[in-house]
Structure formats: structure tokens, C-alpha cells
């Protein structure tokens, strides 16, 4: 896993930005579902587009696109990838 102090919420990404998942701070069924979609710590995620009101947000994960509610995405912490 990538270790770094500066994590951001997944919900703060703009369209076109990429990141690595740092931690999934969700519980229960939603956590299970997120993991089942292949979003685990270390997974590369790209923000594909944001809806006009910023909720929901579409992300590309392992070659498929999923939409997350803003509230749920804000509980997923990521490292921004495009600094490299």
C-alpha cells in the first residue's frame, strides 16, 4: 500500500483526476458493495465526470464505471496520483 500523509476525500476529485484508494471509511453493506466492485486500498480510480449538482459522481474502477453518492465518496480517502 502507498503510504502518504496527504489524503483527500474521493468526493473532492475533479473530472479527469486520478487517485489511489487509501482507506474506505464505510461500514456494513455499503462497504461490502464497494469492495465487491473492486475498490480496495491501492486500487487506481479516475473521476470520469461529475453531475451538474456534484452528486452523484462517476468513477472509473478496474475498467468499469460506477456512480457514487457524494456523501459516500466523501468517506473514501485517496492519494492523488497525477503528481508523478
Amino acid at each position: 500500500m502507498i503510504q502518504s500523509a496527504d489524503t483527500r476525500a474521493l468526493s473532492t476529485l475533479n473530472a479527469g483526476e486520478s487517485c489511489w484508494v487509501a482507506a474506505i471509511e464505510l461500514n456494513g453493506l455499503l462497504r461490502r458493495r464497494i469492495l465487491d466492485m473492486g475498490m480496495v486500498p491501492g486500487t487506481a480510480v479516475e473521476c470520469v465526470r461529475r453531475s451538474p449538482a456534484g452528486d452523484p459522481i462517476a468513477f472509473k474502477v478496474r475498467d468499469s464505471i460506477i456512480a457514487l453518492r457524494h456523501d459516500d465518496a466523501s468517506n473514501i480517502k485517496v492519494h492523488i496520483a497525477n503528481k508523478f
Binding site: 453493506l29 461490502r32 458493495r33 465487491d36 466492485m37 473492486g38 474502477v61 478496474r62 475498467d63 468499469s64
Partner: protein, 257 residues
């Protein structure tokens, strides 16, 4: 073959609304949504289909038959799911059938264009049963996107038979039937690679195994049951007790000791 025993027949009929003929092999068909599972189902069974609901659930149930080398197969289409661990009704139906319906073979259909995400389900099924065949479908789509799938390597990594298909154009279906036949007849015995968890989890599983073995008497994979108990999966504990006629309190207590 286990599907011929009378009590197993009764159980299939009572819990799952499925009545296979004598000597008919039961094949469960699992897969993520939109992987062409229904296309595989239709291509294999043609018009020999019957649709309805799972007993007591508002979830569609489709069954169909096909014959290969004079051997009849009953193909049971499970709901499309990403997982069999979360608890939507669809996922429960799929899990319960694979787990307690004990089909002769479970066929897991994967989408060749997004294998990574699809493999999650295959790995989950591999933890429940060794009688599994993996079908990498939508190979035509993958070719269009310049995605190549190394079937042999996948087979080695998983330890189970893998067949590439494009069900839409009937590509690979003959081979799929042949492999299903071999696994159902137990001429071909898949050896699914076991997932190893963190040392803490493995230690806890080791501790639980003897007690679980005593309780479930080889009716389920004990390692898998141990993992679900560690998950705190109360829904599964309740379901186990219904299907294996155990006392749920007893399971929880034994596991807690």
C-alpha cells in the same frame, strides 16, 4: 453423483423449487449482471426452458435443459450478482443455491472486457465449492477492444477449468459443454487455489475449524463457514440452521467458546 439421492431431491424441490430428473446433472449458472449470462443460458438450452420464481422470493428463476453425449443437464440460472456476501435477496438466492442446493457443477460466467472485477465472484464461489467451471464470455467484445485473455494462465492461477466463449455467436459452447460434462462426471476434478488471509485471520480460522467440523459434518466447506462466522454474518448463520437443521444459538455459542 449426489443429485440422485432421494433426500437431496426433496430438499431441492422444497427449498429451491427444482426437480431434476433421475440421473440428471444440475448446473448452477452464476455471474455478474451484464456478462451475457442469459445469452449463455439461451444458447445452451434453446427453447427447453421453464421460468418462475424462487420459492417465497420475488426473484426470477429460469431453468432449462440440454443434452450432451446422451447425458441430460438441468441448467439453473441464478440472479446476476457482483458478490454472494452482501445481502440483497438476489445474492442470498445465489449463495443459498450454490451452498445448500449443492449443484453438480457451478458455472461462473465472466466478462472478458472487465475480468478483474468479475473474478471477485469466481473467487467467492471457489471458496464454497471445488466443482466449478469458469466461462470467460464476451470474447468477441474483448477482441474489438484489443484485450487478450490468456486462458491457460488464468486456468493455472485459479486451479479450475476455464473456457473462452462468445455465446452470441455460439463460439466455444461445444467445449463448454464438454468441460461441464467432465466436471459433473468427476472425470475432471478442479483444484481451486485457496485464498490465504492475514496471519490473524488464518489463526482464528484454525481455532474454529474443529468445532465447525463437528457441527456441520462435511455438508459445507468448513473453512468457508469459519470465514463467514468471523465476518459476523448473522444472516448466513440463520440460513445455515434452516438448511442443515441446526440450532443457530448452538452455532454461535460453539464458535464463541
Amino acid at each position: 453423483m449426489n443429485s440422485t439421492s432421494e433426500s437431496h431431491q426433496q430438499m431441492l424441490s422444497r427449498h429451491f423449487g427444482i426437480t431434476p430428473a433421475a440421473n440428471q446433472f444440475v448446473v448452477a449458472l452464476a455471474g455478474n449482471p451484464n456478462v451475457g449470462k442469459s445469452t449463455v443460458f439461451n444458447a445452451l438450452t434453446g427453447l427447453r426452458q421453464h421460468t418462475g420464481n424462487w420459492p417465497g422470493k420475488t426473484v426470477d428463476n429460469a431453468q432449462g435443459t440440454f443434452t450432451y453425449q446422451d447425458q441430460s443437464f438441468l441448467l439453473v440460472d441464478l440472479p446476476g450478482t457482483y458478490s454472494i456476501l452482501a445481502h440483497s435477496v438476489e445474492e442470498q438466492v445465489a449463495r443459498d443455491f450454490i451452498c445448500f442446493g449443492r449443484p453438480d457443477v457451478t458455472l461462473v460466467v465472466l466478462d472478458a472486457t472487465c475480468l478483474e472485477r468479475n473474478l471477485n465472484l469466481a473467487l467467492q464461489v471457489m471458496e464454497i465449492t471445488p466443482n466449478i467451471v469458469v466461462c470467460v464470455n464476451l470474447m468477441d467484445e474483448a477482441r474489438k477492444k484489443n484485450i487478450q485473455v490468456d486462458i491457460k494462465a488464468l486456468e493455472q492461477e485459479l486451479g479450475v477449468p476455464v473456457v473462452a466463449t462468445a455465446a452470441r455467436s455460439h463460439e466455444g459452447l461445444e467445449e463448454l459443454q464438454a468441460v461441464l460434462y467432465q466436471v459433473a462426471k468427476r472425470n475432471l476434478q478442479p483444484r481451486p487455489k485457496r485464498l490465504v488471509y492475514s496471519p490473524e485471520v488464518e489463526a482464528a480460522v484454525e481455532q474454529l475449524l474443529p468445532k465447525i467440523n463437528r457441527l456441520i459434518d462435511h455438508k459445507l466447506d468448513p473453512r468457508w463457514v469459519a470465514l463467514r462466522l468471523l465476518d459476523g454474518d448473522q444472516n448466513f448463520i440463520d440460513t445455515i440452521s434452516v438448511h442443515l437443521e441446526l440450532n443457530p444459538l448452538q452455532i454461535t455459542k460453539e464458535a464463541a467458546v
